[in-house]
Assembly symmetry: D2
Homo-oligomer: 366 residues x 4
């Protein structure tokens, strides 16, 4: 398919909410119109809008003022997969493939290509559309920052601000009341938010999935601080952190949800043990949804704008089936097939963990 045919594009957001989505949408719309004279349709509520035919035309006015706003004007969900769409049949749920129907619809609307802003799941679906010949460009979205194909994704810096601010706030209460304060943050498979917020907020202990911990080592650190006259401690724990030899602790799973395990588990599960072994009042705060909200930071606004503009450029250069990514300070592209499912984990021997340990932070591993 030659790029010459691209005259009208669709854009959608899939998966969990993330600061910077609106800034990406704005850049896609403005670049498409200003730089390439395209028309842009916004598809509502992720792939649901493709299935249920919910579109809206976007012009420059539609995206005016949304740069600093969190969330997505298009709505989002991760419930709807066009290739495996659940339908009730004789009282049972069967999964049907709606993709041909959707592609036919897109053609009827004269939409020539899709820009998909989403996580692993949404990008994989995008890839499937391109496998069937429909032009797609991906823009990676993961607030956990755990995608190996890109150095960093938008939303992470904003979540980091929120988490660091929370540590700053807990610090004063911990200090005044001589308590152990535990802050549980996002990070199911990778501990980036816990690691970076912990360094930035001056935490005493950081627990992440990549470095299994023991309660004994955590308590040793707390007692060591007490012996040195520091009568309080701050622990930052990623939701996916686990004990040596243990499983991930998940308090409650809500299926079919955009953020299925965000209900807190590990934080509460270790609080009592720590209270006992340290002899100090211990309190847990689960940051939860607050990490996904708020106005994006300058860094996230800029990265989102670059992603959006460069995704349209990549589209016009015919790089279908690719997604944009940040590598060594430059926006590049990479095949979606190579990018999804490749987790970017915290390297235990990297310079961030080295720096954290050097300033006295324990990872509960020794």
């Amino acid at each position: 398919m030659s790029t010459a045919v691209i005259k009208r594009i669709g854009v959608l957001t899939g998966g969990g909410d993330c600061p910077g989505l609106n800034a990406v949408i704005r850049a896609v719309v403005k670049t498409a119109i200003n730089q390439y004279g395209l028309e842009v349709y916004g598809i509502m509520d992720g792939f649901g809008g493709l299935i249920h035919n919910q579109y809206t035309k976007l012009d420059v006015k539609s995206v005016s003022g949304i740069l600093p706003r969190g969330g997505t004007i298009l709505g989002t969900t991760n419930r709807d997969n066009p290739f495996r769409y659940p339908v009730k049949k004789n009282g049972e749920t069967v999964y049907v493939d709606k993709s041909d129907e959707i592609i036919a619809n897109l053609k009827k609307l004269e939409i020539d290509a899709l820009i998909i802003i989403g996580g692993d799941g949404s990008l994989s679906i995008g890839k499937e559309f391109w496998d069937k010949g429909f032009p797609v460009i991906g823009i990676p979205k993961t607030i956990d920052n755990d995608l190996s194909a890109t150095d960093i994704t938008f939303g992470f810096d904003t979540a980091l601000h929120t988490a660091t601010d929370a540590i700053d706030k807990l610090h004063t209460t911990a200090e005044s009341h001589h308590r152990v304060m535990i802050l549980e943050v996002m990070g199911r498979y990778a501990g980036w938010i816990a690691l970076e917020a912990g360094i930035a907020g001056g935490a005493d202990v950081i627990l992440i999935p990549e470095i299994p911990f023991t309660i004994e080592a955590v308590c040793r650190k707390i007692r060591e601080r007490k012996d040195n006259g520091k009568k309080f401690s701050i622990i930052v724990v990623a939701e996916g952190a686990r004990k040596k030899g243990g499983e991930m602790v998940v308090a409650k799973v809500i299926p079919d949800s955009a953020d299925p395990i965000r209900l807190g588990g590990i934080g509460n599960s270790i609080a009592e043990e720590i209270e006992k072994c340290s002899g100090m009042e211990t309190r847990v705060t689960v940051l939860g949804h607050l990490q996904r909200g708020g106005s994006p930071t300058p860094f996230d606004r800029i990265l989102s704008t670059r992603y959006g503009a460069c995704a349209v450029k990549a589209l016009m250069e015919g790089k279908f089936g690719h997604m944009v990514c940040l590598r060594n300070t430059r926006i590049e592209t990479v095949p979606i097939a190579d990018a999804v499912k490749q987790l970017r984990k915290v390297p235990p021997d990297g310079d961030k963990v080295f720096a954290a340990k050097s300033v006295g932070i324990s990872f509960g591993d020794e």
Copy 2:
């Protein structure tokens, strides 16, 4: 007792952590030294410091740089009541009166008066000391802002910022995912934080102790919004809110704690009901300890400074047994005996509730 004898004073903080405590301490110390040539001793960890003889001398350097810092450099707790101090005797706990011993100690240290910064409990203890003849001045502290003797107390404005910021953050997620988001904030007996953060954050429903609600009325509001194209709703609920004819919902009480019911209850307890009756995904965030932390806002720094300075002035004017308060923009004094236990509740017919209802906020009462 004439003021002429006041040469050395003690200052202590009691009860839960609150932004502005350090600013009060700083103002007490600087005013005492700069304006009146006094000496100041800081008593550590609330009344515990009086019981266990833990003091530290404070000079101008001791309080340098603490104005913008949350928490209290003196430490705080509300576990220790000198008049009813628990002692183990033959395996049982009996309560003894340590006040004579403490007053004797204070005299030995040549401390002529105490400035007590605390809530109802701490101020009542202060009054008991003055009843026994030991000079005391109180400074009211209640982050819930529920003391009738003063128009406003320090810490409230900072908590309001934190809660409003949380609503701003939840807004974008609610809107993007078409959800009902519930934010549970402090306010056991009075709903000031919920009311004011709800107005400032543009909430759709505010539930407070002063206005009992029904789930039906809450759901009616959510459905009404849905019918008008607003596919999300934000509910702010004070921890002490209750249903019409119902009791306060308390999930878990940790006795002997500075903030015994801060563990969330009402938020979670109504979430499922709302999910069912509205047919919308509903999520709860419990703000908890974050509301007590952080750098005080300018308003709180100023009020704290005024309180601290005027408390020392009141002491030198011999107004023992009084506490400072803000009335009609001026700092005044009032007898502690008249002030404690008089709750300042949200008047359901006041102009704040009127304004909230006028901009379309439901209180779940009609």
Copy 3:
């Protein structure tokens, strides 16, 4: 005129920009529609819209999302006075009275009353309309907080945040470089911003119009600090501050402007003198327009919402020629005639100045 006739109202904003204007407009529109079933017209660009017939109908959707936004969706200016409107005639400017024409226009549009949000100038014009029989309710706006009829006005708290934040930022540079840093803030006739930001930011010297200063006293304070090992000083100066026996320093006046003297003067004018007499590098920052911008603080959002809602209520109660005000924590009304031109100045013997002096701040007066 009976209130029964009020069916359609107009709302306008006049004078300089101020955080909270949009929140007031939102509350006026929602209250008028939700509570009283009125129609609302927004008049564009202050009284200019009345003169040039620029209106727009406002419904609940028009004001959706503007609560947290600074500025005014209606536009504002203080150039146009309908009673003294400048017209070029034979090469000369003559001033004509457009008020009859405007009232006729308003009647044609079936607008029964006006809500005017503005400062002294705009409210005085409003009063003149009511003197001619056209119903008007005023809402006071003065970022300098210098109106005696109300305890506080919206916008001030936000400006205070901006100024305090600036002092926090200058502190670190002053300290690192051993400098004197001067921050010039708004406050032509009253020094509220300088006084309160100075207290909240921990300034060393505060210079305000109400307390004339001498350079000698300022330098004495700086040297005193140096002698005590504090090798830097922060000075906050209101634009209207003046030396003992001196005049207000105004660098450059731009006539016909909303903020005619906001160009800095006193700050620069004293910097060299201070550099000389203190022997320390001295730098000036003029905060200027930044003080008028930004998202309103929670306090300002709430006060704006109360003002807007209560102004419509006052209108429906027939309190024409009155403005709303905050007195002793409640919204009340007062005749505009009694309110304008009555400056609320900083009382040099009030508890704020006492508190400031007690924590060691010099006003350059002794």
Copy 4:
């Protein structure tokens, strides 16, 4: 020189103030002590402390609590060059080399190596010390982010926040008053702050040293917006921006100062021209010193901590004469000789400028 001899190190900060300096110092001290058992001396006020023998021993307590604080506890200046130190001789200033004297002093104090945190000037001096055989490790500091050897330096992200926040604030005033607002930011040789804050803040025009502009092109953009109903414009201008064929505009140079040209020039110099050619009220805000202050952002706190920890590691690995840098997300080292004086300029054909142009921002060049 073998690393075995390093037992005691010195650390100093040179040049202009920058957010994150304290976080670097903290990481250096903690890493040196915790990881390598070294002793650390802080050298006061840049190279001045070496010349005037002003040192202080730093332990873990000395750096407690400084992570979130702007500025430098060591003081800084860029006035003193040990290799060219000005001395008055017979009424004339002659420059003498104090380096041998300093090295002798350091040896007497048993300080085996220096960690120098500074800009081009300070790092060059560090290199000269290593040229003479005294072990030195550099840590780059440039708030303008214009050093080619490193992807980014600490302090820039914080300055970007301050500048973006200022644009957000000016936006509302510009919009309400139908004005052109000009914000002058730092960036003498490279326009990174103007470029990134301009993108993040949604500016309409960005003027940077790398892309010379014409007033005509700027005014064309403003008129174009006016024609599209946008009655205001925001211009962000780097202090080093210049017209096509023109020189850099410098209002006033204060020699021997840490930030010699921070007094505004280009902003004011273009304001009148723009007012004339656009016919719109135009106002200038010079952000100045505010950009160097404030608590570092999480990103800057983390980068500073990594720099500090890795600098000590590099020292212990014997990489004398090198400085740490960030390259492709990892901390590496590079010879100071290769790093200084190599400016990292904004590439006019990079993806940031492309993205900016794509969302409609003019650089005044076409």
